[in-house]
């Protein structure tokens, strides 16, 4: 089957999963008291509160039975009417759920992009190297490394890195050079006349134009000092995220390299005199990557959990920190919105994983 048809089929298969996700989030909502739902949906400072609650009840379909209410929920989700949230701890925010997500999402994208690229760039060559030499010293140290970073709780890693490499945490620490919280220092901006591409969003959060990713935007506009400052801020969270992701990829890649090494086609390739590095790179690694890619989806799910913990430790204003704030501030539509968003991210990531899988392995075109 052609790749095109595979992708179309895979996109169609996403529909039941998306419906399932909305059903689960809807059930979470529906299990709460309905009077509470209507009043949580609206802006608490709305001028005519009683009228606004009535409107919200209609918008949510609270009096129309579970089926119609689900359809209302679906409609609200699709039209971007995700409700209102007032956050107090640790993030302070007052606005619609969607606008809050718009503010904090770019920061997380920045974090995940760097961590994913870095861990793949390190894991593939390293996994190939140690997987091709089973039971060597390199292999043993690689296994100890990946097992210990796989087993160490990610929040402990974050806290320890923050203390060892954080600026000003321990006085006189020569390696403590990285800022420990936030996305950039306010001192890196000329506060009196800020550049025109930095705009103030809802709740005083600074948004950069055009991509909202502060490192890339400051590079686009040629503000290298700010780019450097913002970069230093993400070094520690990216490092922790990379290490935890790297450990997982390395474990699977090593195991599947060893499996591939024992197969017939490797013996054939060796016996017909193919040079060893071609055997490793073309025959062994290419086949070992296929099972590794299937677990990338699962690893990505735990990466999203890690994002919540890491953003909490580093006070990093991303969606993980936002999700935590919605829970701690008791904002139900914030909780539902962020959960739904995380689901969408994971479904998209799984789609990309499957397509990569199909490109790498021409047999998987079912």
């Amino acid at each position: 089957m052609e790749l095109r048809y595979f992708i179309i089929r895979r996109l169609l298969l996403m529909i039941p999963t998306l419906i399932g996700l909305t059903i689960i989030v809807f059930v979470l909502m529906w299990s709460l008291p309905h009077t509470f739902l209507a009043s949580a949906f609206i802006n608490p400072k709305a001028p005519n509160r009683a009228q606004a609650i009535l409107t919200a009840e209609n918008q949510l379909g609270l009096n129309q039975g579970i089926v119609l209410a689900y359809l209302h929920y679906l409609g609200n989700t699709l039209t971007g009417n995700w409700g209102y949230m007032t956050l107090t701890t640790p993030i302070k925010f007052d606005g619609t759920v969607l606008s809050g997500i718009g503010l904090f999402f770019p920061n997380t994208i920045q974090l995940v992009i760097f961590a994913a690229i870095l861990s793949i760039l390190i894991a593939i060559p390293l996994g190939t190297y140690i997987g091709a030499r089973p039971n060597s010293i390199a292999d043993h140290s690689g296994r100890i490394f990946s097992l210990s970073f796989y087993a160490i709780p990610v929040f402990v890693l974050a806290v320890v890195f923050q203390v060892i490499f954080g600026k000003g945490v321990i006085a006189g620490n020569p390696v403590g050079i990285f800022p420990i919280s936030g996305t950039f220092s306010i001192s890196a901006i000329n506060v009196i006349s800020p550049p025109s591409w930095l705009v103030s969003g809802v709740g005083g959060v600074v948004l950069s134009q055009p991509t909202h990713l502060i490192i890339f935007d400051s590079l686009i506009h040629g503000d290298y000092a700010l780019a450097g400052n913002a970069f230093m801020h993400i070094v520690l969270p990216v490092l922790v995220l990379t290490l935890s992701l790297l450990a997982g990829i390395l474990r699977f890649l090593r195991a599947s390299m060893v499996d591939a090494a024992n197969s017939e086609y490797i013996k054939t390739a060796r016996s017909k005199g193919v040079p060893e590095n071609i055997v490793v790179k073309l025959h062994m690694r290419r086949n070992a990557l296929i099972p590794t890619i299937t677990v990338l989806g699962l690893l990505f799910a735990s990466l999203l959990g890690g994002v919540v913990l890491i953003e909490d430790v580093f006070d990093y204003p991303g969606i993980g920190y936002l999700a935590l704030s919605t829970i701690l501030s008791g904002s139900i539509f914030g909780v539902l919105g962020t959960t739904f968003l995380f689901g969408i991210i994971l479904i998209t990531a799984n789609l990309l994983v499957d397509i990569t899988y199909a490109i790498l392995d021409p047999r998987i075109r079912y």
């Binding site: 996700l21 689960i24 087993a151 709780p153 999203l304 919540v308 909490d312 993980g320 008791g330 799984n350």
Partner: protein, 318 residues
């Protein structure tokens, strides 16, 4: 050819109990040969022994009624004495030093282990029970049941499990029981997927056909033949999951602990968050020692799980 058939029929005529026992003894001998896996198993057993001892005879730790006596509120650490460093002369209580409000780390950590392990085992085994029964039934009966099962597990696999667990805990209200419920809800599909695949494989075996031909009911085949044969890969998954679940459990309490406004019973992730603010003063032990305690357990169950997989999966026996 005829001889081979005769041999085979001979083998099936052997008393079944005997051969199964012999088989598991051989498996166990193989497992004993793997030193790393043995170390992992011994460490795991020691952890469980401590947790059981805590439950049966709590006086040995000298820490009773943790939740009220210790008044452990990570968010409010002002105006209390500094933690004292580990010291090995004197009472074993203070071997690993103290943490917030002069709580001795070692006995409290051992007491907290009971809570962590009990809930972890509860989550893993309930999740396993639900998953294995639903998954094997789906694989065995096939058809529409199987199709529904697959779609449902697909949906659960595309949920970001940590965020989803937090959301469930929020909706149900924060308590130990609800954390357990949330983690079971996110974890059973792993077992369902695993046992469904194995049940599909098992149902085509001759002895299942034979038992159906001799008039066994679906119920009897499912519980007598399919599920027992599905279990050995499930054991591997259980031992690996003990490590993942204890960490998820601790992570949730770590997050809650950073913002706690009232006291909760002691749990290891919660203890770590209680020591977090001391790290910047160079006082490392309130965080590092409970973390190492958690780390050692996770490494041990992983080593044990890897060893189990090597002996239980005949394809890997070389």
């Amino acid at each position: 050819m005829i001889e081979e058939t005769a041999l085979r029929s001979n083998r099936t005529m052997e008393p079944k109990k005997h051969s199964r026992l012999e088989n598991s003894a051989a498996t166990f001998r193989l497992f004993l040969k793997n030193r790393l896996a043995m170390v992992g198993m011994i460490i795991t057993l020691v952890y469980f022994a401590i947790a059981i001892a805590d439950t049966v005879y709590p006086q040995w730790l000298g820490v009773s009624n943790l939740s009220t006596a210790l008044n452990f509120v990570p968010g409010h650490i002002a105006n209390t004495a500094q933690p004292s460093p580990p010291r090995f002369n004197g009472s074993w209580w203070y071997w690993f030093g103290t943490t917030y409000s002069t709580i001795p780390i070692l006995p409290v950590m051992l007491a907290a282990l009971r809570i962590d392990l009990a809930y972890t085992v509860l989550i893993v085994f309930l999740g396993m029970g639900i998953g294995v029964i639903l998954g094997s039934a789906a694989g065995y009966f096939g058809g529409i049941l199987d199709e529904i099962m697959m779609r449902v597990t697909d949906i659960f696999f595309s949920l970001p499990f940590f965020v989803f667990a937090l959301a469930i805990v929020y909706v149900l209200g924060f308590s130990f029981d609800n954390v357990v419920l949330a983690l079971i809800i996110i974890w059973w599909p792993t077992y369902a997927r695993l046992s469904r695949g194995l049940a599909l494989e098992t149902k085509s075996f001759k002895y299942v056909e034979a038992s159906r031909a001799s008039g066994a009911s679906n119920f009897k085949i499912l519980f007598g033949h399919i599920i027992p044969n599905v279990l050995s890969p499930v054991y591997v998954q259980i031992s690996l999951d003990l490590g993942s679940i204890i960490q998820l459990f601790a992570s949730i309490f770590f997050l809650i602990g950073s913002f706690a406004q009232s006291t909760y019973p002691i749990e290891i992730g919660y203890m770590i968050s209680g020591g977090e603010s001391y790290l910047s003063e160079g006082l490392w032990w309130p965080v590092i020692i409970p973390s190492l305690f958690l780390l050692v357990f996770t490494v041990a169950v992983n080593l044990m799980g890897d060893g189990l997989r090597d002996v239980l999966d005949p394809k890997l026996r070389r």
